[in-house]
């Protein structure tokens, strides 16, 4: 496959596309792109039938290895790869190591292995075990095994160790990769996994990231939220949807955070293209990531929930019990065309499965539209305007 960049600057927003994927000829994926986060091989709450009601485009999928490790044996016997195994063979698949929607515990990597947490408990992977899985799953693109166990508080020693180990793991993965005669393209594709809120996504795009995953809209769904941030440039500066006032009184700029991630870039050799490895792993700033974790001592949850209120409605709130308007008047998704806030509120209150389905349909649609806006904004040099619109407070109409 090829990754073609249309822009030249190395550390600013870039626009490009992936094409000539051997397994899926004719498919072209524009970047910055959104990979649809899949857990256990399926997009949470969406069967294939319902996915077609969200979009008929073959969006690329993000399949974290930790969520499908338990399928290894079955997929090996199946012999046709994870995409086909999960009923999504027409879709481009990317495998990462970890699940971005879940906090990964610290301190469980050792000299030769890293740890993942699949369903049945911690599992240690060395490059060979990891590549066994990759070879069984046959993703179109995957992350090389690496040690990303670093954050703001890490010591220099830990950071160096993680880089050294990652380089070592990468070499071993590359060895296996080349044995299978699949080649790497020239351009280096940058993926940044994590539950980044829209403001942070835009900051990352400005730094030259090409792909993100949809774990953020997933976590929004799981907490009963519906995304209503302005996902396109609205020149009239009027909110494009009827939304609610925030509880927080402070203006947006106080809460807007600078990105605090560090990106460790790694080089790959330059044989001709066929299959890709993404070679980037980033550590995550706590404030930017929605984390519900009992193991972490930070009280960043109140900070992040204030931040997130700019971007979403909380449908569990009693005030929606008799609100018969759609989530967003300007949204064309199935949920907004056919259902009301009151109904969704009822479904969430009664713990009915349809609640998360309707929220997922809306949240994914909204987020995919956001990415279309990002690409358009880069092409038309209006990313600043998009940033302003996205972070704007939405008032009651």
């Amino acid at each position: 496959m090829k990754f073609i960049l249309s822009s030249v600057a190395s550390c600013s927003n870039r626009i490009g596309y992936i094409k000539d994927i051997e397994r899926l000829p004719g498919l072209m994926l524009e970047t910055p792109m959104l990979l649809l986060y899949a857990k256990g091989g399926s997009i949470p709450h969406l069967t294939y039938e319902v996915l077609q009601m969200v979009t008929k485009d073959k969006q690329p999928l993000h399949i974290p290895i930790s969520t499908v490790a338990h399928c290894h044996e079955a997929v090996t016997a199946f012999r046709k790869g994870i995409a086909d195994f999960t009923g999504l063979k027409e879709y481009f698949t990317f495998c990462s190591i970890h699940d971005p929607a879940v906090a990964t515990p610290y301190g469980f990597n050792d000299k030769n292995t890293i740890s993942i947490w699949p369903r049945n408990g911690r599992k240690q992977l060395d490059p060979d075990k990891y590549m066994d899985m990759i070879e069984a799953f046959q993703p179109d693109m995957y992350q090389a095994l690496c040690d990303g166990d670093t954050d703001l508080k890490s010591s220099k020693k830990r950071i160096h160790k993680s880089i050294d180990k990652s380089l070592m793991f990468f070499e071993k993965c590359l060895e296996r990769h080349e044995k299978s005669e699949k080649h790497l393209p020239n351009e280096k594709f940058r993926i940044l996994h994590g539950c980044w809120n829209p403001g942070t996504v835009l900051s990352m795009v400005e730094l030259g990231i090409d792909a993100f995953d949809s774990s953020y809209p997933y976590t929004v769904t799981e907490r009963g939220g519906a995304l209503i941030f302005q996902n396109c440039i609205n020149n009239l500066n009027i909110p494009s949807s009827a939304t609610d006032a925030l509880n927080a009184a402070e203006p947006v700029t106080d809460i807007e955070l600078k990105p605090e991630t560090s990106i460790s870039a790694q080089s790959s050799s330059e044989p001709p293209e066929k299959k890709k490895i993404s070679t980037q792993e980033a550590s995550h700033a706590e404030e930017d990531k929605y984390v519900v974790s009992k193991t972490q001592g930070h009280t960043t949850e109140s900070q992040s929930s204030r931040l997130n209120k700019i971007y979403e409605l909380s449908l569990l709130d009693e005030k929606y019990a008799e609100d018969f308007t759609p989530l967003s008047r300007s949204c064309s998704c199935l949920t907004c065309q056919k259902h009301t806030r009151a109904y969704i509120h009822h479904l969430l209150q009664t713990h009915e499965l349809l609640g998360p389905v309707l929220l997922t349909i809306h949240n994914l649609h909204h987020y995919m539209e956001f990415f279309k806006s990002i690409r358009e904004a880069i092409k038309s040099n209006s990313l600043e305007s998009l940033k302003r619109c996205v972070n704007e407070r939405n008032d009651v109409s």
């Binding site: 857990k39 256990g40 091989g41 399926s42 997009i43 949470p44 709450h45 969406l46 069967t47 294939y48 039938e49 319902v50 009601m53 499908v68 338990h70 399928c71 044996e73 079955a74 016997a77 199946f78 195994f85 999960t86 009923g87 369903r119 019990a321 008799e322 018969f324 199935l334 056919k338 259902h339 009301t340 009151a342 109904y343 009822h346 479904l347 209150q349 009664t350 009915e352 499965l353 349809l354 998360p356 389905v357």
Partner: protein
Amino acid sequence: MPVIGKKTALRFQIKAKCKVSKARSSSMGVIHHEVDTPVFMPVGTQGTLKGLLPDQLEALGCQIMLGNTYHLGTRPGPSVIMKAGGLHKFMNWNRALLTDSGGFQMVSLLKLAEITEEGVKFQSPYNGSEVMLTPERSIEIQNSIGADIIMQLDDVVRTTTTGPRVEEAMLRTTRWLDRCLGAHQNAATQSIFPIVQGGLSKALRTESVKQLIQRDVPGFAIGGLSGGESKNDFWKMVHLTTDLLPEDKPRYLMGVGFAVDLVVCCALGVDMFDCVFPTRTARFGCALTCSGQLNLKQKKYAKDFQPIDEGCDCSTCERYTRAYLHTIVTVEPVACHLLSVHNIAYQLRLMLSIRESIEQQRFPEFVCKFMANIYTNKEYPQWIVDALAAVNIHLDPADPTAEN
């Protein structure tokens, strides 16, 4: 010429009658949709059906589904539903709806439910206060919900109950029917079905029917027969009741839903069924097929790359293998949706086969083939043999029509 008012909310027309058994294929027109009978109605307890969109249900060919008055009357409550414009609008389901009276759930779900002539008295599970569900209140809630067919509040007893309580309940059910009919506000758009009671007593059932048919109602439900009674008693009561009920009105057997029971009861002249079983069992990872149930949690499916059922054309079987489903059942919510779609497709396809075979005058052959598929060793349970024999369908292993 039908009387304007009560009768226009429901039209029932028999299209074909089986010449051998009591089965019939009909068309039931209610305000929101035409319903082909015999029909299986999936149960969408709280105004939703186990994660499925109304769009998906329409794609499956579902024409009518059930909502529970007790649950909906509690959450979101009749006031919210009325403000939404009725349950159809609230859940955006534009086909037919049927609601039960709320009585059964109360008796089975709540402690301290006390039944008096006035109604059912119970303790609210939310704030412990005493609440009374009267026939009038049940109809009032059902009027707010706005389903096409609504049920009277009946005095329902366990099938294992014996003694004078059974007769008391049967007689009270008739009195409550009259109170329901009196309280009903929407006769032009909603039909009330009375419920035949009488436990396992031939005399009481007969008396119940005799009383109920004196009222001007468009259809009848047969209640009190989906509990712990023996199958032998079960079929006899159904058979007796359908013999007594008028032929030109639909008969709804409440709470019956296993495939085998559906087939037998169609032979006995029943037109409508409901059951939580197909959707409830989907939640536990079980899929329904012509040869029985598959529990996809079992390890033997880990490398089984077939669909649930080769012969099934539902969206689940089109794309998903048993092996993949094995990895997600009871873990990912999406597995429940996938199995619900399949199980409902299975039930609806079964009913379609029943209707078609009745219309093509080969219903007895269909029944024999169906039973042979389930009981591959031809060891049919006696109650099935007896029930079918009572309507002239013979499951004789030596019978050539019983061979596949």
